[in-house]
Every structure is written in structure tokens, then in C-alpha cells.
């Protein structure tokens, strides 16, 4: 669809021009809320990390420089949580990407019932994260759960420290599959079919065709969606909140859960904001990779 549109209007790129005064009138209604409720709070949040802001305190908040970060550097629990967060984000993103790639390749084949499969594959996307969490609690339930019944055990998957993190990772993979699959399907629509057929005629096997024809065409989208899903996963909250609430014994306490408790249970706004800043630093590095990949994709 997009390539057709591009062909149909050669030179229909937006002109490089300052939008006129009318354009400002069109932009302002969205720009003001963005500045007040999104850009502003983000900057405010970064500033809070350098203060001793606490909830419900009468004394005025003071600048304390890097004190929060110094405390954070020695906070063993936080770094433990950070490590779990990275394990979770990698553990979800990588298998999710590989599984979604497989599913997208299948859905791109001319199989019967493809329409039905496409519709069903999107189901997890439509569900509220909280319901996803509740649903998997029922699956993992020790006595009347689906999984225990299928395997013939009454293991408490979410309560056992050794299985809790793998168990929530499976849920994370499940919950994000549709988004990644849909993005990759979009990429697959760009794969030149003639090239595929030519390679097949020349005797290239399925794996070679994938590597030399399919992968180069979907690489930019693959890079973008995997980077994005890594970032989403690192910021994930609701799923694990309802599945384990960070337990057992902090084995699934993701950084977001940790920061949430710090801010809204213990009221340490400044300290929690500092945690957010550390997360931002990590995320920015990843975003840089994401943008570089994206720009490289544009150059072609």
C-alpha cells in the first residue's frame, strides 16, 4: 500500500517550508498539553532526583546535589532489582522476537485459515495487562491450574524462588507477541517476491533465501521493534505487579516495582526519581542504538 502510494505521487514529499501562521493555530492545542503534562514533568522529574523531596513533609524541599545517586550506588537492593530487570528485559525480548519472527513468517505463507490465525494471534494485544496477569495466575495455580494439570505436578510456579522469574518471563513473552509480530509482518510485506522466486529457482534452500533475501529487507524494522520492545519491557510494571508483586523474596522485583514502592509506599520522591534517572541513562543508550539503526534504514 505504502509503496504504491509512493509511486503514485512522485515528488510529493512535504515541502521544506516553515508552516504559516495558520499552522501554529493547528499545532498549539496539542503542543500545550504535551509541554505541560509530558515534557515539563519529565524535566521536573529529573530535577527531583537532585532534591530530598518526600511525600507529606512540611519542611521545604532542598537541593542535595548527587547525594541520592551516592546512596543509590551503595543500595544493594536496587542493583539487585536492576539486575533482575535486565534479566527480565533480555529474557522476554529475545525469545519474543524469535517466536514472533517465526509466527510472522508463517502468517506470511499462503496457508489456509490464515485470516483466522492472524485474528487470533492478536488477542493478547487487546487484553488489559492486569487481566493477562490474572489469567496466567489461573494457569500457574498450584492445584487447579492448567499447567500443573498438564504436567501432572502441583508446583507453585510463581511462589517458588527458582521458577518465579522464568514463569513471569513466559507471561511477558506472551503479552508482547502480537505487537512484534505485526511489525515484522509489515516488514515482510516489503520483501521483493521476484527475488525470492529467483533465489528458489537458483536452488537456494529456505535458510539461504531467508538470510540473503528476507532478512536484509526486514532488518530495519526488526532492529526498531526489538529495541522498542526491550525498552517497553524494562519499563514494565502491571504484569509483574499482579503476578507476584515482586516476590517471592524480591526474586521478581523489577526496577519499576522497586521505584514505585520507594515513591508511593515510603514517600521517597527524590530517591525514586534518581532511580528513574538511572533507568533513563540506560534507556538513552539503547535509544541511540535504535535511532542509528532507524536512520541507516532510511538511507536505503
Amino acid at each position: 500500500m505504502t509503496s504504491m502510494a509512493a509511486m503514485a505521487r512522485p515528488g510529493n514529499r512535504p515541502p521544506d517550508g516553515r508552516p504559516g501562521r495558520g499552522a501554529w493555530f493547528l499545532v498549539l492545542p496539542a503542543l500545550i498539553p504535551i509541554l505541560v503534562l509530558s515534557v515539563g514533568p519529565l524535566l521536573y522529574g529529573i530535577a527531583l532526583a537532585f532534591t530530598d523531596s518526600q511525600s507529606g513533609r512540611t519542611r521545604p524541599t532542598q537541593w542535595i546535589g548527587l547525594l541520592n545517586f551516592q546512596d543509590l550506588a551503595q543500595d544493594r537492593l536496587f542493583w539487585e532489582s536492576f539486575r533482575i530487570g535486565l534479566q527480565w528485559a533480555v529474557g522476554v525480548t529475545v525469545p519474543q522476537f524469535l517466536l514472533a519472527l517465526g509466527l510472522a513468517l508463517l502468517l506470511n505463507q499462503n496457508l489456509r485459515f490464515r485470516w483466522l490465525a492472524r485474528a487470533l494471534a492478536i488477542v493478547p494485544w487487546a487484553m488489559p495487562e492486569i487481566v493477562v496477569g490474572i489469567m496466567w495466575r489461573l494457569v500457574y495455580q498450584p492445584d487447579a491450574g492448567l499447567l500443573g494439570d498438564a504436567l501432572g505436578t502441583d508446583n507453585d510456579w510463581l511462589g517458588d524462588p527458582t521458577t518465579a522469574l522464568p514463569a513471569v518471563i513466559v507471561v511477558g513473552v506472551w503479552a508482547g507477541m502480537p505487537q512484534v509480530t505485526v511489525a515484522l509482518l509489515a516488514g515482510l510485506a516489503n520483501v521483493p517476491r521476484e527475488l525470492h522466486e529467483a533465489a528458489a529457482v537458483d536452488g537456494a534452500g529456505a535458510w539461504r533465501r531467508f538470510r540473503t533475501v528476507t532478512w536484509p529487507a526486514i532488518r530495519p524494522i526488526a532492529l526498531a521493534i526489538s529495541a522498542l520492545s526491550f525498552i517497553w519491557n524494562l519499563n514494565s510494571f502491571a504484569l509483574v505487579y499482579v503476578l507476584t508483586n515482586g516476590g517471592p523474596g524480591g526474586r521478581t522485583r523489577l526496577p519499576m516495582l522497586f521505584a514505585y514502592e520507594e515513591a508511593f509506599r515510603y514517600g521517597q520522591f527524590g530517591y525514586a526519581a534518581a532511580m528513574g534517572c538511572v533507568l533513563v541513562a540506560v534507556v538513552s543508550v539503547l535509544l541511540a542504538v535504535y535511532l542509528v539503526g532507524r536512520l541507516r534504514g532510511d538511507d536505503r
Binding site: 505504502t2 499552522a23 499545532v27 503534562l37 509530558s38 487470533l120 487481566v131 489461573l138 533507568l279 533513563v280
Partner: protein, 283 residues
């Protein structure tokens, strides 16, 4: 040029593909079917060690009990108000801006595109604490109005992303032709562009509705009184302090909370994926 594979191996490959697809669908759909099954099971069948897919004695008691235990109707009404307001306002604000972003290449458009990307990477903690403090000063904590304001800004990046794609799909030539015929700028927007954009606007609004209906974190932090809470927050109240839950009513309520999103997603499926593509694939 020898053909790789005989008919036999080709048929095996096809069978393998169907089998793989079946495994995928089992993974993606079975947990949901289990939720449905649990919602209709009487307590005795929930406690059994040998659970069945189809309840022997299906019952609606779980639903009745769910409504008795928690203010589900009130929560559904709150969710509905918040999601409808957020969707309508977000789209009303985003459409004009998306139009400018699609039609003009200016530093502002580039900055806005950058913000759309950056906003995806916000750690929510860093945004929620300042928002909490700001809304507290405005006395909008524990009010749906405050939640709606947050949801609007939350939905804006994706709305801009989708709408910019839809605007690009409206041929510029149509607007130019109308201009040649002597129509003014405002007239063109209202009678040429808007009708062509309408399906995209509706799709974006419904998507924003689903996002807001499903949202949990902001509602958890910003709403305190039980009578103001939204559906996802009320659902967590079915789970007790020790993590013990009455499974039947929990499943019933969770199922009810999913129905609106699921129905809209089914209706929208093609449009949503199309909209994502329109924004994601560069022109």
C-alpha cells in the same frame, strides 16, 4: 536447474507449517480459554485436582458474586468515562497537529517526531512523581478529570503517529485541485480532507479508548477512593493481601473487563494493523 524437493517433501513441509501454526495458536489462545472456563466453574470444580476444560456444571454464580464483592458497575462507569473523554480529547488535539506534521517539514515537526519516539522510552516513575505533585497542587488527585488529562497526553504520541500516516495517505492533489477551484484553506480542510480522514480518525480514537480502558499504573497512583477507581484497579482488589484470591469471581470480573477491548479490537483489527503500518513504514 533442478527443482529442490519432490512433491513428498514439499507436502511434509506444508504439514510442518500447519503444525507449527497450531502450536503458536495454542500458546496464544489456550490461556484465554482457561480464563473463560474458570469464570463459569462452581467452587467445587475449582478446588478439584483434576480440572476440566468444560465445566461439568457451568454456573453464573461467579459473576453474581463478583458484583457483590466489588463495585464493578461503578468501576466500569469510571473506566468508560475516562476512556471516552481521553479518546475524544486526544484525537481532537492530535488531528490538527498530525496534519501539519504530515504536510510540512519544519523543525517543529521534526521535534514532535522526536518526542513521539522519546516518550516511548520514559521510565514511568520519572513522569508519575512530578505528575502526582502537579495534579496535587491543582487539586486533581483522586479525580477522573486528572486521570483523563494524563491519559490524553499518554495517548497523544501514538495518536500522532497513526494520524500522520493517515494524513499522508490523503492525496495532496485533491487539496490542490480544490484550491484551484477557488476553495479557501479552511473550506478544503473541512470538505475535502476531513471526510477522507474520518475512518483513520475513528480508528485512532478507538485505539486510544482501548489504551485508556486497559491502563493500570496511572490509575493505581492517581486514584485513591474506592468509588473513583477504574476497572483494572478494582480487579486487583479481588486478590487479598496474602495473594490469595477467590478464583471464580476473579476470573468472572477479569473476563468482563476484557470484553470491551476485545470487541473493539476485533472490529478494528485490520485498521489498527494498517494504521501501525502507515506510520511505521517510511515513505
Amino acid at each position: 536447474m533442478k527443482r529442490t524437493g519432490t512433491m513428498g517433501t514439499r507436502r511434509t513441509a506444508r504439514a510442518g507449517q500447519y503444525l507449527a501454526l497450531l502450536c503458536y495458536l495454542a500458546f496464544l489462545v489456550l490461556p484465554f480459554l482457561w480464563l473463560m472456563s474458570t469464570a463459569f466453574k462452581p467452587p467445587r470444580e475449582l478446588a478439584t485436582l483434576d480440572p476440566r476444560w468444560i465445566p461439568d456444571h457451568p454456573t453464573l454464580d461467579n459473576f453474581r458474586q463478583a458484583f457483590d464483592e466489588q463495585p464493578l458497575l461503578q468501576a466500569a462507569a469510571n473506566s468508560l468515562i475516562a476512556a471516552v473523554c481521553a479518546a475524544v480529547i486526544a484525537v481532537a488535539l492530535a488531528t490538527p497537529m498530525a496534519y501539519v506534521m504530515a504536510r510540512h517539514r519544519s523543525p517543529l515537526s521534526r521535534a514532535a517526531t522526536g518526542w513521539v519516539v522519546v516518550s516511548q522510552a520514559f521510565p514511568l516513575v520519572l513522569v508519575i512523581i512530578p505528575l502526582f505533585l502537579i495534579l496535587k497542587n491543582l487539586r486533581l488527585i483522586d479525580s477522573l478529570a486528572g486521570l483523563v488529562a494524563v491519559y490524553v497526553v499518554w495517548a497523544l504520541p501514538f495518536a500522532l503517529w497513526m494520524l500522520t500516516g493517515y494524513v499522508r495517505a490523503v492525496p495532496r492533489e485533491l487539496e490542490e485541485a480544490a484550491a484551484v477551484d477557488g476553495a479557501g484553506k479552511a473550506r478544503i480542510l473541512v470538505s475535502v480532507t476531513a471526510p477522507l480522514l474520518a475512518p483513520g480518525i475513528v480508528a485512532t480514537a478507538l485505539f486510544a479508548f482501548i489504551t485508556s480502558w486497559n491502563e493500570f499504573f496511572f490509575a493505581l497512583v492517581l486514584l485513591k477512593s474506592p468509588e473513583k477507581q477504574t476497572m483494572p484497579v478494582i480487579l486487583t482488589h479481588f486478590i487479598g493481601a496474602e495473594g490469595v484470591a477467590d478464583l471464580g469471581p476473579l476470573a468472572a470480573a477479569a473476563l468482563l473487563a476484557t470484553i470491551p477491548s476485545l470487541v473493539l479490537f476485533a472490529v478494528l483489527q485490520r485498521r489498527i494493523t494498517g494504521g501501525v503500518l502507515a506510520g511505521a513504514v517510511k515513505h
